[in-house]
Symmetry: C2
Amino acid sequence: MDKEYEILDSFIRFRGLRHTPQREMILRVFLSVEGHLSVEELHALAKKHDRSIGYTTVYRTMKLLSESGLADKVEFGDGIPRYEHKYNHRHHDHFVCVKCGKCFEVAHAGIEKLQETLARERDFTPLWHTMQVFGLCKDCRGIEIKLQ
Amino acid sequence: MDKEYEILDSFIRFRGLRHTPQREMILRVFLSVEGHLSVEELHALAKKHDRSIGYTTVYRTMKLLSESGLADKVEFGDGIPRYEHKYNHRHHDHFVCVKCGKCFEVAHAGIEKLQETLARERDFTPLWHTMQVFGLCKDCRGIEIKLQ
DNA sequence: ATCATTATTGAAAAACGTTTTCAATATAAC
DNA sequence: GTTATATTGAAAACGTTTTTCAATAATGAT
Ligand SMILES: [Mn+2]
Ligand SMILES: [Mn+2]
Ligand SMILES: [Zn+2]
Ligand SMILES: [Zn+2]
Protein backbone atom coordinates (compact mmCIF):
# COMPACT_ATOMS: atom_id res chain seq x y z
CA MET A 1 0.00 0.00 0.00
CA ASP A 2 2.69 2.45 1.02
CA LYS A 3 5.31 0.84 -1.16
CA GLU A 4 6.03 4.17 -2.85
CA TYR A 5 7.11 5.74 0.44
CA GLU A 6 9.45 2.82 1.07
CA ILE A 7 10.94 3.24 -2.40
CA LEU A 8 11.60 6.92 -1.82
CA ASP A 9 13.02 6.25 1.63
CA SER A 10 15.46 3.62 0.45
CA PHE A 11 16.46 5.81 -2.49
CA ILE A 12 17.10 8.69 -0.10
CA ARG A 13 19.15 6.52 2.24
CA PHE A 14 21.06 4.95 -0.63
CA ARG A 15 22.10 8.36 -1.87
CA GLY A 16 22.97 9.72 1.58
CA LEU A 17 20.09 12.18 1.46
CA ARG A 18 17.65 13.02 4.21
CA HIS A 19 14.03 12.32 4.87
CA THR A 20 12.02 15.52 5.19
CA PRO A 21 8.34 16.31 5.71
CA GLN A 22 8.39 18.37 2.51
CA ARG A 23 9.51 15.43 0.40
CA GLU A 24 6.99 13.13 1.98
CA MET A 25 4.19 15.63 1.47
CA ILE A 26 5.04 16.26 -2.17
CA LEU A 27 5.08 12.52 -2.81
CA ARG A 28 1.69 12.25 -1.10
CA VAL A 29 0.27 15.05 -3.26
CA PHE A 30 1.74 13.51 -6.40
CA LEU A 31 0.30 10.09 -5.64
CA SER A 32 -3.10 11.54 -4.80
CA VAL A 33 -3.74 12.60 -8.39
CA GLU A 34 -3.84 10.19 -11.29
CA GLY A 35 -2.92 12.11 -14.41
CA HIS A 36 -0.33 14.39 -15.96
CA LEU A 37 0.54 17.33 -13.72
CA SER A 38 2.88 20.24 -14.24
CA VAL A 39 5.20 21.51 -11.53
CA GLU A 40 2.97 24.55 -11.22
CA GLU A 41 -0.09 22.37 -10.62
CA LEU A 42 1.81 20.19 -8.13
CA HIS A 43 3.03 23.28 -6.29
CA ALA A 44 -0.53 24.64 -6.08
CA LEU A 45 -1.70 21.32 -4.61
CA ALA A 46 1.26 21.15 -2.22
CA LYS A 47 0.48 24.64 -0.95
CA LYS A 48 -2.85 23.38 0.36
CA HIS A 49 -0.92 21.19 2.79
CA ASP A 50 1.90 23.61 3.56
CA ARG A 51 1.42 27.24 2.60
CA SER A 52 5.14 27.91 2.86
CA ILE A 53 6.29 25.14 0.53
CA GLY A 54 8.65 26.56 -2.06
CA TYR A 55 8.44 26.25 -5.81
CA THR A 56 12.07 25.20 -5.87
CA THR A 57 11.43 22.35 -3.47
CA VAL A 58 8.74 20.95 -5.73
CA TYR A 59 11.12 21.09 -8.69
CA ARG A 60 13.84 19.38 -6.72
CA THR A 61 11.55 16.74 -5.28
CA MET A 62 9.98 15.84 -8.62
CA LYS A 63 13.46 15.35 -10.00
CA LEU A 64 14.12 13.04 -7.06
CA LEU A 65 10.92 11.10 -7.68
CA SER A 66 11.93 10.68 -11.31
CA GLU A 67 15.35 9.41 -10.37
CA SER A 68 13.89 6.95 -7.89
CA GLY A 69 11.55 5.57 -10.54
CA LEU A 70 8.33 6.79 -8.94
CA ALA A 71 7.56 9.50 -11.48
CA ASP A 72 7.95 9.96 -15.20
CA LYS A 73 8.33 13.27 -16.96
CA VAL A 74 6.34 13.58 -20.14
CA GLU A 75 6.29 16.34 -22.77
CA PHE A 76 3.30 16.95 -25.01
CA GLY A 77 4.82 19.61 -27.20
CA ASP A 78 3.31 22.63 -25.47
CA GLY A 79 6.49 23.47 -23.58
CA ILE A 80 5.11 22.40 -20.20
CA PRO A 81 6.59 19.15 -18.90
CA ARG A 82 4.25 17.08 -16.79
CA TYR A 83 4.73 14.23 -14.36
CA GLU A 84 2.83 10.97 -14.22
CA HIS A 85 2.94 7.94 -11.95
CA LYS A 86 5.48 5.31 -12.90
CA TYR A 87 5.38 2.79 -10.08
CA ASN A 88 2.90 0.01 -10.85
CA HIS A 89 1.98 1.73 -14.08
CA ARG A 90 3.12 0.00 -17.22
CA HIS A 91 4.62 1.88 -20.12
CA HIS A 92 2.22 3.48 -22.56
CA ASP A 93 2.14 5.95 -25.42
CA HIS A 94 0.10 9.13 -25.64
CA PHE A 95 -2.52 10.26 -28.12
CA VAL A 96 -2.95 14.01 -27.62
CA CYS A 97 -5.84 16.03 -29.02
CA VAL A 98 -4.41 19.26 -30.45
CA LYS A 99 -7.76 21.01 -30.05
CA CYS A 100 -8.83 20.30 -26.46
CA GLY A 101 -5.63 18.85 -25.01
CA LYS A 102 -7.23 15.60 -23.88
CA CYS A 103 -4.71 12.79 -23.62
CA PHE A 104 -5.41 9.11 -24.25
CA GLU A 105 -3.03 6.48 -22.98
CA VAL A 106 -2.35 3.54 -25.24
CA ALA A 107 -0.37 0.42 -24.42
CA HIS A 108 0.33 -1.96 -27.24
CA ALA A 109 2.79 -4.82 -27.11
CA GLY A 110 3.10 -4.98 -30.90
CA ILE A 111 4.61 -1.52 -31.18
CA GLU A 112 7.09 -2.24 -28.40
CA LYS A 113 8.13 -5.45 -30.13
CA LEU A 114 8.52 -3.68 -33.47
CA GLN A 115 10.76 -1.06 -31.87
CA GLU A 116 12.89 -3.79 -30.33
CA THR A 117 13.30 -5.39 -33.72
CA LEU A 118 14.17 -2.14 -35.49
CA ALA A 119 16.69 -1.32 -32.77
CA ARG A 120 18.30 -4.74 -32.93
CA GLU A 121 18.60 -4.46 -36.71
CA ARG A 122 20.63 -1.27 -36.21
CA ASP A 123 22.78 -2.66 -33.40
CA PHE A 124 21.17 -0.15 -31.06
CA THR A 125 20.30 -0.94 -27.44
CA PRO A 126 16.97 0.72 -26.62
CA LEU A 127 16.61 1.97 -23.04
CA TRP A 128 13.29 3.79 -23.23
CA HIS A 129 11.13 5.49 -25.79
CA THR A 130 8.40 8.03 -26.18
CA MET A 131 5.69 8.01 -28.77
CA GLN A 132 3.05 10.66 -29.13
CA VAL A 133 0.33 10.83 -31.71
CA PHE A 134 -1.16 14.27 -32.17
CA GLY A 135 -4.56 14.62 -33.72
CA LEU A 136 -8.23 15.23 -33.08
CA CYS A 137 -10.35 13.36 -30.60
CA LYS A 138 -13.89 12.26 -31.42
CA ASP A 139 -15.47 15.40 -29.98
CA CYS A 140 -13.08 17.88 -31.55
CA ARG A 141 -13.13 16.26 -34.96
CA GLY A 142 -16.87 16.83 -35.00
CA ILE A 143 -16.43 20.52 -34.28
CA GLU A 144 -13.72 20.74 -36.93
CA ILE A 145 -16.07 19.35 -39.57
CA LYS A 146 -18.90 21.67 -38.55
CA LEU A 147 -16.68 24.73 -38.72
CA GLN A 148 -15.51 24.05 -42.24
CA MET B 1 16.23 21.84 -58.17
CA ASP B 2 15.25 25.14 -56.62
CA LYS B 3 11.77 23.94 -55.80
CA GLU B 4 12.27 24.90 -52.17
CA TYR B 5 12.76 28.55 -53.05
CA GLU B 6 9.60 28.49 -55.10
CA ILE B 7 7.72 26.97 -52.20
CA LEU B 8 8.90 29.67 -49.83
CA ASP B 9 8.14 32.39 -52.36
CA SER B 10 4.60 31.25 -53.00
CA PHE B 11 4.04 30.84 -49.27
CA ILE B 12 5.30 34.38 -48.73
CA ARG B 13 3.09 35.78 -51.47
CA PHE B 14 0.09 33.79 -50.28
CA ARG B 15 0.44 35.29 -46.82
CA GLY B 16 1.06 38.83 -48.05
CA LEU B 17 4.61 38.78 -46.73
CA ARG B 18 7.73 40.02 -48.46
CA HIS B 19 10.71 38.43 -50.05
CA THR B 20 13.95 39.47 -48.35
CA PRO B 21 17.61 38.56 -48.85
CA GLN B 22 17.75 37.45 -45.21
CA ARG B 23 14.97 34.89 -45.67
CA GLU B 24 16.50 33.58 -48.85
CA MET B 25 19.94 33.28 -47.25
CA ILE B 26 18.63 31.47 -44.17
CA LEU B 27 16.80 29.00 -46.40
CA ARG B 28 20.02 28.50 -48.38
CA VAL B 29 21.99 27.84 -45.20
CA PHE B 30 19.31 25.50 -43.89
CA LEU B 31 19.22 23.51 -47.13
CA SER B 32 23.00 23.30 -47.30
CA VAL B 33 23.20 21.08 -44.24
CA GLU B 34 21.55 17.70 -44.03
CA GLY B 35 20.91 16.98 -40.37
CA HIS B 36 19.32 18.32 -37.21
CA LEU B 37 20.38 21.89 -36.47
CA SER B 38 19.52 24.18 -33.60
CA VAL B 39 18.68 27.85 -34.09
CA GLU B 40 22.03 28.68 -32.54
CA GLU B 41 23.86 26.52 -35.09
CA LEU B 42 21.82 27.94 -37.95
CA HIS B 43 22.55 31.47 -36.77
CA ALA B 44 26.27 30.73 -36.63
CA LEU B 45 26.17 29.42 -40.19
CA ALA B 46 24.08 32.35 -41.36
CA LYS B 47 26.58 34.79 -39.87
CA LYS B 48 29.21 33.47 -42.28
CA HIS B 49 27.12 34.89 -45.10
CA ASP B 50 25.92 38.04 -43.37
CA ARG B 51 27.70 39.13 -40.23
CA SER B 52 24.85 41.38 -39.23
CA ILE B 53 22.09 38.77 -39.41
CA GLY B 54 20.09 38.80 -36.21
CA TYR B 55 19.27 35.90 -33.96
CA THR B 56 15.64 36.98 -33.99
CA THR B 57 15.49 36.81 -37.76
CA VAL B 58 16.68 33.23 -37.73
CA TYR B 59 14.01 32.33 -35.19
CA ARG B 60 11.35 34.05 -37.24
CA THR B 61 12.50 32.54 -40.51
CA MET B 62 12.70 29.01 -39.19
CA LYS B 63 9.15 29.37 -37.96
CA LEU B 64 8.23 30.47 -41.48
CA LEU B 65 10.00 27.52 -43.04
CA SER B 66 8.11 25.21 -40.70
CA GLU B 67 4.79 26.76 -41.59
CA SER B 68 5.53 26.48 -45.29
CA GLY B 69 6.34 22.79 -44.93
CA LEU B 70 10.05 23.09 -45.73
CA ALA B 71 11.34 22.44 -42.23
CA ASP B 72 10.35 20.25 -39.32
CA LYS B 73 11.07 21.00 -35.70
CA VAL B 74 12.25 17.99 -33.69
CA GLU B 75 12.93 17.62 -29.98
CA PHE B 76 15.31 15.01 -28.60
CA GLY B 77 14.69 15.63 -24.93
CA ASP B 78 17.72 17.81 -24.24
CA GLY B 79 15.72 21.02 -24.32
CA ILE B 80 17.20 22.18 -27.62
CA PRO B 81 14.77 22.01 -30.52
CA ARG B 82 16.36 21.31 -33.87
CA TYR B 83 15.21 21.69 -37.45
CA GLU B 84 15.47 19.13 -40.22
CA HIS B 85 14.53 19.12 -43.89
CA LYS B 86 10.94 18.20 -44.62
CA TYR B 87 10.55 18.76 -48.35
CA ASN B 88 11.29 15.57 -50.28
CA HIS B 89 12.12 13.80 -47.03
CA ARG B 90 9.64 11.20 -45.92
CA HIS B 91 8.55 10.88 -42.33
CA HIS B 92 10.81 8.94 -40.02
CA ASP B 93 11.39 8.22 -36.36
CA HIS B 94 14.54 8.88 -34.36
CA PHE B 95 16.82 6.56 -32.42
CA VAL B 96 18.97 8.78 -30.21
CA CYS B 97 22.11 7.59 -28.43
CA VAL B 98 22.02 9.00 -24.90
CA LYS B 99 25.81 8.73 -24.61
CA CYS B 100 27.16 10.40 -27.76
CA GLY B 101 24.03 12.08 -29.11
CA LYS B 102 24.18 10.36 -32.49
CA CYS B 103 20.79 10.13 -34.13
CA PHE B 104 19.62 7.35 -36.45
CA GLU B 105 16.62 7.88 -38.68
CA VAL B 106 14.24 4.99 -39.08
CA ALA B 107 11.29 4.77 -41.42
CA HIS B 108 9.00 1.80 -41.04
CA ALA B 109 5.61 1.45 -42.64
CA GLY B 110 4.49 -1.17 -40.12
CA ILE B 111 4.70 1.21 -37.18
CA GLU B 112 2.79 3.90 -39.05
CA LYS B 113 0.09 1.40 -39.94
CA LEU B 114 -0.14 0.18 -36.35
CA GLN B 115 -0.56 3.75 -35.13
CA GLU B 116 -3.34 4.31 -37.65
CA THR B 117 -5.12 1.21 -36.40
CA LEU B 118 -4.77 2.14 -32.74
CA ALA B 119 -6.03 5.64 -33.48
CA ARG B 120 -9.01 4.39 -35.45
CA GLU B 121 -9.92 2.01 -32.63
CA ARG B 122 -10.13 5.00 -30.31
CA ASP B 123 -12.04 7.19 -32.73
CA PHE B 124 -9.04 9.51 -32.89
CA THR B 125 -7.89 11.23 -36.09
CA PRO B 126 -4.09 11.20 -36.16
CA LEU B 127 -2.48 14.27 -37.78
CA TRP B 128 1.19 13.65 -37.05
CA HIS B 129 3.29 11.80 -34.56
CA THR B 130 6.74 11.66 -33.06
CA MET B 131 8.55 8.58 -31.90
CA GLN B 132 11.95 8.58 -30.33
CA VAL B 133 13.86 5.63 -29.02
CA PHE B 134 16.61 6.51 -26.57
CA GLY B 135 19.41 4.09 -25.96
CA LEU B 136 23.01 3.21 -26.72
CA CYS B 137 24.52 2.98 -30.17
CA LYS B 138 26.94 0.22 -31.09
CA ASP B 139 30.02 2.27 -30.18
CA CYS B 140 28.73 3.60 -26.89
CA ARG B 141 27.37 0.27 -25.70
CA GLY B 142 30.87 -1.12 -26.03
CA ILE B 143 32.27 1.63 -23.84
CA GLU B 144 29.49 1.10 -21.34
CA ILE B 145 30.38 -2.59 -21.02
CA LYS B 146 34.08 -1.87 -20.66
CA LEU B 147 33.51 0.71 -17.93
CA GLN B 148 31.44 -1.63 -15.75
C1' DA C 1 20.13 14.95 25.36
C1' DT C 2 23.93 17.52 23.25
C1' DC C 3 26.85 18.28 19.71
C1' DA C 4 28.90 18.44 15.13
C1' DT C 5 28.26 17.70 10.47
C1' DT C 6 26.10 18.60 6.48
C1' DA C 7 21.77 18.11 3.65
C1' DT C 8 17.64 20.86 2.87
C1' DT C 9 14.88 24.68 2.59
C1' DG C 10 12.72 28.99 0.49
C1' DA C 11 13.67 33.49 -1.49
C1' DA C 12 16.03 35.84 -4.62
C1' DA C 13 18.95 36.08 -8.40
C1' DA C 14 20.71 34.13 -12.42
C1' DA C 15 20.39 31.44 -16.39
C1' DC C 16 18.25 29.86 -20.40
C1' DG C 17 15.87 29.76 -24.80
C1' DT C 18 12.29 32.28 -26.89
C1' DT C 19 9.11 36.10 -27.95
C1' DT C 20 7.80 40.87 -27.98
C1' DT C 21 8.66 45.65 -28.63
C1' DC C 22 10.22 49.38 -31.29
C1' DA C 23 12.39 52.66 -34.29
C1' DA C 24 14.91 52.43 -38.55
C1' DT C 25 14.84 50.40 -42.92
C1' DA C 26 13.50 47.76 -46.95
C1' DT C 27 10.03 45.93 -49.94
C1' DA C 28 6.25 46.07 -53.15
C1' DA C 29 2.39 48.30 -55.27
C1' DC C 30 0.83 52.41 -57.35
C1' DG D 1 9.14 58.66 -56.77
C1' DT D 2 5.68 58.12 -53.35
C1' DT D 3 3.17 55.55 -50.20
C1' DA D 4 1.82 51.86 -47.20
C1' DT D 5 3.39 48.51 -44.52
C1' DA D 6 6.29 44.30 -43.75
C1' DT D 7 10.92 43.33 -41.99
C1' DT D 8 14.92 43.91 -39.56
C1' DG D 9 18.21 43.78 -35.43
C1' DA D 10 18.91 45.26 -30.68
C1' DA D 11 17.16 45.36 -26.47
C1' DA D 12 13.81 44.28 -23.24
C1' DA D 13 10.48 41.16 -21.62
C1' DC D 14 9.02 36.65 -21.04
C1' DG D 15 8.21 31.98 -18.78
C1' DT D 16 10.42 28.24 -17.05
C1' DT D 17 14.18 26.12 -14.67
C1' DT D 18 18.53 26.24 -12.10
C1' DT D 19 21.78 28.25 -9.03
C1' DT D 20 23.11 30.73 -5.03
C1' DC D 21 23.04 31.53 -0.27
C1' DA D 22 22.09 32.11 4.54
C1' DA D 23 19.01 30.03 7.84
C1' DT D 24 17.27 25.77 9.33
C1' DA D 25 16.66 20.93 10.03
C1' DA D 26 17.98 16.02 9.91
C1' DT D 27 21.25 12.63 11.07
C1' DG D 28 24.89 10.17 13.47
C1' DA D 29 28.26 10.27 17.10
C1' DT D 30 29.22 11.38 21.69
MN1 LIG E 1 0.49 8.90 -19.37
MN1 LIG F 1 15.42 13.33 -38.69
ZN1 LIG G 1 -10.24 17.00 -28.36
ZN1 LIG H 1 26.54 6.61 -29.12
